[in-house]
Amino acid sequence: MSPVLTDLTAAEIRRRVASREASCEELIRAHLDRLAAVEPAIGALLVTLEDRALDRARAQDRALAAGAEAGPLAGVPVVVKDLLNITGLATTCGSRILEGYRPPFTATAVARLEDAGAIVIGKANMDEFAMGSSTERSGFRPTRNPWDPTRVPGGSSGGSAAAVAAHMAPMALGSDTGGSIRQPAAFCGVVGLKPSYGRVSRYGLVAFASSLDQVGPLARTVDDIARVATVLCGQDPRDSTSAALDVPDFAAAVAREPEGLRIGVPWAVLEGVETETLARFREALGSLEAAGASVVEVELPHLPHAVATYYIVATAEASSNLARYDGVRYGHRAPGIIDLEEMYGRTRDEGFGPEVKRRVILGTFVLSSGYYDAYYLRAQKVRTLIRRDFERAFESCDAVATPTTPTAAFRMGEKTADPLQMYLEDIFTVPANLAGIPGLSLPCGLAGGLPVGLQLLGRPFDEETLLHCGAVFQRVTRHHELTPPEPSSTGQQA
C-alpha cells in the first residue's frame, strides 16, 4: 500500500477511517497540503475550504471516537464544481454575474455526500454556467491540464477533473449537460460518470439546460465511482424530474464477471476520430473482448445531427434559465442606472462572458415567434429520433462504446476563436444527454502522451452495466494507474 495518503482511493480512505487507522483530520490535511503544492500550477479550484473542511474532519473524528458508525464515504475529501450550492458559501458558476451571492441552501447531491461522511475541500473552476468544453470560459481564470499545462483540462467540469487527476482529492462532483463530466475526465485521465437523466437530484444544481443537466462523480477508479454513485443517486421530492426508482448497490455490480456482455460500436460515425485516439479505442475493445465481452456493430443513424440538436435545445433552455440574473435581487448590478431596461442590459452585458451571451442570444432566437417550429420543435423531434436510435441499438448490445472525444486535450487558445470547432468536441458526448441515458468515460491510455477516454453508454437507468463493464476494463488494464507528471517538473505557471 502506498504510504502517500493522497494516492489513496476513496474506498481505501474510508476503510482506514472506519478502522481508525487514519483520522479524517490527517487525511484532510494531507490533501490540503497536496492542494497547496500543486494548485498554483493548475488552478483547478475557485476557493479552498480549508477551515470548514478541517472543522468537519475533526467533528467526524470526535463522532467516530464516540462510537458513531463510519458513513460510506467517511473522511473522503471531495471537490465540488462551483455550480452546486452549499449554504452560505459563494457559488459563482464561474460567472462574474453571481458576484457576492451566497445561497441559503445546499444542493441535494452535496448534502448526500456530506451525510455519507465526505468532506468538501474546495469548489472547482468551470466554464461560465457550464458553457464550454475547455474551462477557458471561466469568468475568473482558466484551469490547466495536469498532464500538460499548455493544454486545456476539458470542460466544463475541468476544475473537478484536474483536481482528481492531480490527486488534490480522490473524487469530485461535476455536472454534465453535453459531456461536461466525460470530456474533461477523458482529457485528464480520470473516470467520469454522467448518470441517467433523473437519477441524481438537480435540486441546488444551478441550471444550464434543465432537460439535459445531470450531476455526476469523477474519480480515479470505477470502484470509487460506484461507491459515490450509490450515495448520490435516488429520488428527491424537491426535484420533480428525479426518477422514482430504487438504486442498486453499484459496488456489488462492479465485482461481477463480464460473461455475456455485448458491446456495440457505431463504426460509421467514428470516421473523424484522430488516428492515435482511435488506436487506443480499438485496443480498449480488444481488452474487453479478451476479458470475455463480445463486440458487435450498431447503427446510430441520427448521431450526425446530435450537435446541432443539442445546441438548439440547450441554448433555448439556457436563455430562459439565465433570465433570472437581472441585477434585481442578487449578484452583480450595473451601478448608477435609473432606467430599468438599461439596468438589465448593462448588468447582463457586464456580468456575462462572451460564450454565455452567444448562447443566450442563440437560445432566445430559436424560441422566438416565427422560428420556434423550425428550430426548437424540430430539434425536439430529432431528439426523439436519437433516443430511438439508442433503443434500437440496445436491442443488440448492453452498452454502446465510442471514444469519449475525437482527440486528446487541445492546446489552450486553440479553439476559442472558433466556437463551432469547440462545439464539435461534443459529438460523442451530447447524444447521451439528448437521450437521457447514462455515460461513463474511462481512461484508455495515452495518445501523443495525453490521456484519452473510452466512453460507454447504457440503457436508461442501467448505470449498473456501465460500472460492471468499466470495472472489468480496469481489472484487465492499468491505464487508470497512469499519473500525470508532477507539476514541479513542468514549472509553475503564471
Binding site: 455550480l83 457559488t91 444544481l205 441550471a207 433555448a316 430562459s320 433570465a323 437581472d326
Partner: protein, 492 residues
C-alpha cells in the same frame, strides 16, 4: 337616464359590441403552487418566501396537488373537460416582480377546455357564456412604490404573492355588452365562491379581469378589430371601462377611422382607456415546455373524485329555491349569490317551515345588517336557528312583527336567543281580550270627539284608535285583537 347613458344606448342600436373576458382567480390553497410557503394575503413583505418562489439559482418547482384539485373544481363547476394531460410552459419576460425571468404557466395544452357559465337571458330565461379554456399558472410578486422611507428614491418588490396559484378562465367572444360582462362576472364569482376555489376579493387582487372588445355594425357577421383592456379591478370598473371602450371604438369608426389592435389600460380616475402597447410592441413570450416539471396527468378517478365533491351550484340551487321553496326568482337569485347565505336561508326556512318569511328576514334584515356592518355572514351572531325561532314567535302570536324588529336588533348585537330577550324585557304580545278591553275602554273614554267623528262616518279614524292603544301598551298589544275590540266597541 343621463345624457351619456342615452347616447350609449343610442349607439348600441347601430353597433353590436363583442366581448370576451379573461379572468384570473387566485386559488384558496394553503400553500403556493410550487413550494410550501403559505398562500396568505396581507403579511409583511417578503415573509412568505423561500428559494423556490424567489427563483434562486438551483431551486426547482414541485407542483401542489391541492392547487390542481381546486383548479379542477373550477373547471368541472363550469362544465369544462379536464384534460388527461396538460403541459407546463414557461412564459418568458423580464420584470422585477418576476424572479425567474419567466412565469410557469400552461400554454398549448391547458388543464381544461370548453365549458360554460349560465347568465340570465331575455324573458327570464338563461343563456350560456362559453369558456374556451382554463389554465393554471403562478402569480408574480408585487412592486411597492410607496409607503416606505426610501420610496422617494427607489421601489421595492414583495414576493409574498409570487408563486401563488392562479387559474385563468378565458371565454369565447360571447358577451354582447357591459351588462353581459357584469352578469357573467357575477355568475362566475358566485360559482368560485360556492366551490371555495377562490375568495374572489377584487380589492386584494384575488380576482382580476382583462377584456377583449370589438364592435361591429348590427347584422354584420365578421368581428371588428379588437383591443385588449387591462387593469379592470372591480365589477363597476369592468362595466364602465367596457362602456367607454365601446363608445371610443364606435367614435373611431364613425369618424371614418379604423380601430387599431392594441392593449389599452383602464384608468379609473380619468374614466378612460389609454393605449399601452401596439400589436407590434406586443411581447414575444417565447413559450416552451417547462423542463423542470413533467406533464400534469389527471386520472379519470381523480376527476371523478373532484366531481363528486362539488356542492350544488348557484344555477341549480336558484332553480330549486323557486321550485321547492316557492320563492320568487328575484329572491332565489339574491339568496344564492353566496353559498353561506343560501345555507343560512335554508336553515331558517327549515326551522320555520315558512320559506317566504325566512327569505324576507334574510334579505331585508340579515343582509342589510351585514352590509351596514361590512361583515360576512360567517361573522353573524344571529344563528339561523334563533332567527327561525324569532319568526315562529311572530307566527305564534307571541310577539308582534314590529316588536320582532327590535328583538332582532338586540339579537344582532348580543347574540342572545329571541326567547330570552322577549321574556326579560316583557315584550310578549298582549292578545288577551280581557286584559286589552280595559285599555280600549280608557282610550275611547278619553277621546269623545274622535269617537263622535268615527260614528259620524269617519271610519278611517280606526287607525288612530289602534295607535293610541298600542302607545298605551308599549307596542305589545296584538293589533289584530285591538282592532276587533275597537270595532266591537265603536260599532255597537
Amino acid at each position: 337616464m343621463t345624457v351619456a347613458e342615452q347616447s350609449f344606448s343610442g349607439l348600441l342600436a347601430e353597433y353590436e359590441p363583442v366581448i370576451g373576458l379573461e379572468v384570473h382567480a387566485q386559488l384558496l390553497t394553503r400553500t403556493k403552487l410550487f413550494c410550501s410557503c403559505p398562500n396568505r394575503f396581507g403579511d409583511p413583505p417578503n415573509t412568505n418566501v423561500c428559494p423556490v418562489c424567489l427563483g434562486l439559482p438551483g431551486a426547482l418547482p414541485v407542483l401542489s396537488r391541492e392547487a390542481v384539485s381546486l383548479a379542477m373544481r373550477a373547471a368541472l363547476a363550469t362544465h369544462c373537460t379536464v384534460q388527461e394531460e396538460s403541459i407546463w410552459a414557461r412564459k418568458n419576460y423580464f420584470y422585477p416582480d418576476l424572479p425567474k425571468g419567466y412565469q410557469i404557466s400552461q400554454y398549448e395544452k391547458p388543464l381544461a377546455l370548453e365549458g360554460w357559465v349560465e347568465i340570465p337571458g331575455e324573458g327570464g330565461g338563461t343563456r350560456r357564456v362559453r369558456l374556451q379554456r382554463i389554465h393554471m399558472e403562478e402569480d408574480a410578486g408585487k412592486l411597492l412604490h410607496e409607503g416606505f422611507p426610501w420610496s422617494a428614491e427607489k421601489s421595492g418588490v414583495d414576493f409574498n404573492r409570487g408563486g401563488v396559484p392562479l387559474i385563468e378562465m378565458v371565454t369565447h367572444p360571447d358577451l354582447r355588452g357591459p351588462e353581459d360582462a357584469f352578469e357573467y362576472l357575477s355568475a362566475l364569482k358566485a360559482i368560485l365562491l360556492y366551490i371555495e376555489a377562490s375568495d374572489c376579493n377584487m380589492e386584494e387582487g384575488s380576482l382580476r379581469c382583462d377584456a377583449n372588445v370589438s364592435v361591429r355594425r348590427r347584422g354584420a357577421e365578421a368581428y371588428g378589430t379588437r383591443t385588449e383592456i387591462k387593469n379592470l379591478n372591480s365589477f363597476r370598473h369592468v362595466a364602465r371601462a367596457l362602456e367607454h371602450e365601446i363608445a371610443r371604438q364606435v367614435a373611431v369608426i364613425e369618424s371614418g377611422g379604423e380601430v387599431v389592435q392594441e392593449t389599452r389600460l383602464w384608468n379609473a380616475d380619468r374614466g378612460e382607456t389609454a393605449s399601452m402597447r401596439s400589436k407590434e410592441e406586443a411581447h414575444d413570450y417565447r413559450y416552451f415546455p417547462e423542463p423542470d416539471l413533467p406533464p400534469l396527468r389527471v386520472t379519470a378517478e381523480w376527476t371523478e373524485e373532484v366531481q363528486h365533491s362539488l356542492p350544488e351550484l348557484p344555477p341549480e340551487r336558484r332553480r330549486r329555491f323557486t321550485e321547492e321553496h316557492g320563492l320568487p326568482d328575484y329572491d332565489a337569485g339574491v339568496l344564492t349569490q353566496s353559498r353561506a347565505v343560501a345555507d343560512y336561508f335554508e336553515s331558517v326556512a327549515r326551522e320555520t317551515g315558512d320559506a317566504k318569511a325566512a327569505s324576507n328576514w334574510v334579505m331585508n334584515d340579515v343582509l342589510r345588517k351585514l352590509k351596514e356592518d361590512d361583515a360576512d355572514i360567517a361573522e353573524c351572531r344571529v344563528t339561523p336557528e334563533s332567527l327561525g325561532r324569532l319568526v315562529k314567535l311572530i307566527e305564534g302570536g307571541t310577539i308582534s312583527g314590529k316588536i320582532a324588529k327590535d328583538v332582532f336588533e338586540k339579537m344582532w348585537t348580543s347574540g342572545e336567543g329571541p326567547q330570552a330577550i322577549v321574556e326579560r324585557e316583557g315584550l310578549v304580545q298582549l292578545s288577551d281580550e280581557d286584559a286589552l278591553q280595559a285599555t280600549v275602554a280608557e282610550v275611547l273614554e278619553a277621546s269623545p270627539d274622535q269617537v263622535a267623528a268615527y260614528r259620524g262616518g269617519k271610519k278611517a279614524a280606526i287607525g288612530w284608535f289602534v295607535g293610541q292603544v298600542m302607545k298605551k301598551t308599549g307596542g305589545k298589544a296584538n293589533p289584530r285583537v285591538v282592532n276587533t275590540l275597537l270595532k266591537k266597541a265603536l260599532d255597537s
